[in-house]
């Protein structure tokens, strides 16, 4: 199977939210249905952001209409907020439970929430702030690209329901070609900021977008980057393994080399100020002055060849 991608053309989207419903239906995600359970949040986005039960939302960005852009005083830049399925998916890199896995065949980042340990590392690694959590154990939830459908020859649920044809699904190269063609068309019709998003970001996304009013207007992240912390965290694992292993080896060697050794049985006679070896009766130190030997003398004084050397 070749790499796949979902194409979102914002210039065709009517924000009907049919894709959101299709996503919920196919994936069995609940919605609050009680009386007044959906509190108005001041935005037409509903819910206001992706959450543990909502993998996809259509975003509403209200803009001042530019001259010649529209005959109305405002213009809407609709956006599609969901997992972008990065090629360099940092969420999959940091996931310790193996719950997030990049499917090499399609390029989609799939989710197995039964493996999620709720650490929320993925959330901190994602430059799009996509992974969200549900339930008491904080299990991860995010778009899977409907990989179960794709593997069976179907398009993702959101794509299959899009009436205006704003969503398409197919081989990634093909989607990119369609997107470029559409951007050319939009530019020719006065939408100078129209651009293709997802072709190169994060090593190439598997959601390609035609953004009619530019990246920012549609709520996308300009030049997303993996946090350097993700790389540092990954480096810490081998460093800790090597550091701890070397310490254990070193301590093992020290233990072996000192095995059987017991230091002298010492006593202190306050009357004379002498520290005495109880077993031999020898005075090993008189008084409490600072040591006068050099470091080299310390190192060599008791070596076998110099055994019995004086220490006065």
């Amino acid at each position: 199977m070749s790499e796949k991608a979902i194409l979102f053309d914002s210039s065709k989207c009517t924000a009907c939210k049919g894709c959101q419903i299709a996503c919920k239906c196919w994936n069995g995600l609940p919605s609050p249905t009680g009386l007044n359970e959906n509190v108005f949040s001041g935005t037409l986005q509903n819910p206001p952001d992706v959450n543990g039960d909502t993998r996809l939302i259509i975003t509403f960005n209200e803009m001042e209409a530019e001259e010649g852009m529209s005959n109305k005083s405002i213009a809407w830049a609709f956006g599609r907020r969901s997992c972008q399925h990065c090629s360099d998916a940092p969420c999959a890199q940091v996931c310790p439970g193996g719950a997030l896995v990049k499917d090499e065949a399609t390029g989609f980042v799939s989710v197995d929430d039964s493996k999620c340990i709720g650490c929320q590392y993925c959330s901190s690694a994602c430059p799009f702030d996509v992974p969200h959590y549900y339930g008491a154990q904080s299990k991860v939830n995010k778009c899977t690209g409907c990989i179960d459908r794709v593997e069976n020859g179907m398009a993702p649920a959101c794509v299959s329901t899009c009436q205006p044809g704003a969503l398409q699904f197919g081989d990634r190269d093909e989607m990119i070609a369609i997107a470029h063609k559409r951007v050319e068309f939009l530019k020719a019709h006065g939408y100078e900021k129209a651009t293709v998003y997802g072709e190169n970001e994060m090593g190439g996304l598997h959601v390609i977008q035609v953004l009619k009013y530019g990246v920012e207007a549609h709520g996308q992240v300009e030049d997303p980057k993996v946090s350097p912390m993700v790389g540092l965290q990954q480096i810490m694992k081998p460093i800790t393994a090597v550091g701890t292993g070397a310490t254990v080896l070193g301590l093992g060697a020290m233990f072996a080399l000192a095995a059987g050794y017991r230091h002298k049985n010492l006593a202190y006679n306050e009357k004379t100020g002498d520290t005495i070896d109880v077993d031999t009766g020898e005075v090993v130190k008189h008084g409490d002055a600072q040591d006068e030997l050099t470091v080299v003398e310390h190192l060599t004084e008791n070596l076998p060849k110099k055994k019995g050397g004086s220490h006065e």
Binding site: P96, G98, M229, G243, A258, N269, K285, H298, E301
Partner: protein, 254 residues
């Protein structure tokens, strides 16, 4: 201390008399080193620390977590949080209960290094591999190397505590943002490396696994006393001062 020092005949006689008295006595001299509160605080903290290291490993090493399954890791993670709170709270409560003890600890930790301290530190690494051949310079109440290692444990322990609490708050009641979370996580991992290295060394020496340090565990896990001989070997200057002073010296059956 390696070889004999010549003393006057009078002193020699007094020393002989002293040794005979000690030999005849059924008791030995011990010096009080750690209070009961210090021993309990240390005990609870290190049990927490060891359990925190092991529970943290199930998230830090993906293969371990995946081997036991997500639900078990979840339980371990929750236990990690409870232990983490104890790890931070117990020393803090203890410090509030005994502020003079805290001052004493940090005074020792930052005490000026004398010539013996510097020499001891230089000799320490070779000594670890050649303990039977190298005699070390006398030390004060806390050895120079001990000051360094204890300082590292305080530093990394503090780092673990602060970043652990930040991570706990960030995933429960507050939201510091992804960048702060990432930085805290990295520092927590860095703290773990430090704790692993210095903690293992601390257990090796303080637990008396290293042969010349045999019996050292009794200072923290026993009655808090150190025998005269051990005290003279490890902290010569301190031991002599304590034996001269006599306030913290107890005689007990050998």
């Amino acid at each position: 201390m390696s070889s004999a020092v010549k003393v006057s005949a009078a002193d020699e006689a007094l020393d002989r008399e002293f040794l005979e008295e000690r030999k005849a006595s059924e008791t030995g001299r011990y010096i009080k080193r750690h209070s009961k509160q210090a021993r309990w605080t240390h005990g609870i903290t290190i049990v927490c620390c060891i359990l925190l290291c092991f529970s943290g490993l199930f998230v830090f090493v993906p293969a371990l977590g995946q081997a036991i399954g997500a639900d078990t890791v979840f339980v371990i993670r929750m236990a990690h949080r409870v232990l983490g709170v104890l790890f931070v709270a117990v020393p803090l409560i203890s410090a509030i209960m005994a502020p003079k003890g805290v001052v004493h600890i940090f005074k020792n930790l930052f005490a000026k290094w004398d010539s013996d301290d510097k020499k001891w530190m230089i000799l320490f690494f070779p000594y670890l591999f050649m303990a039977r051949f190298i005699h070390m310079p006398d030390q004060s109440e806390v050895k120079s190397g001990q000051r360094f290692a204890d300082g590292m444990l305080w530093l990394f322990g503090g780092l673990m505590g602060i970043t652990g609490i930040a991570l706990l708050l960030d995933t429960t009641v507050l939201d510091f943002g992804a960048t702060v979370y990432g930085v805290m996580l990295f520092l927590h991992d860095l703290g773990f490396l430090g704790i692993a290295v210095f903690g293992l060394a601390h257990i090796f020496l303080g637990g008396g696994i290293f042969q010349p340090y045999r019996g050292m565990h009794r200072a923290m896990f026993g009655d808090g006393l150190v025998s005269e001989s051990d005290a003279l070997y490890h902290w010569g200057h301190w031991a002599r001062a304590e034996l001269e002073d006599g306030k913290n010296v107890v005689e007990k059956r050998k």
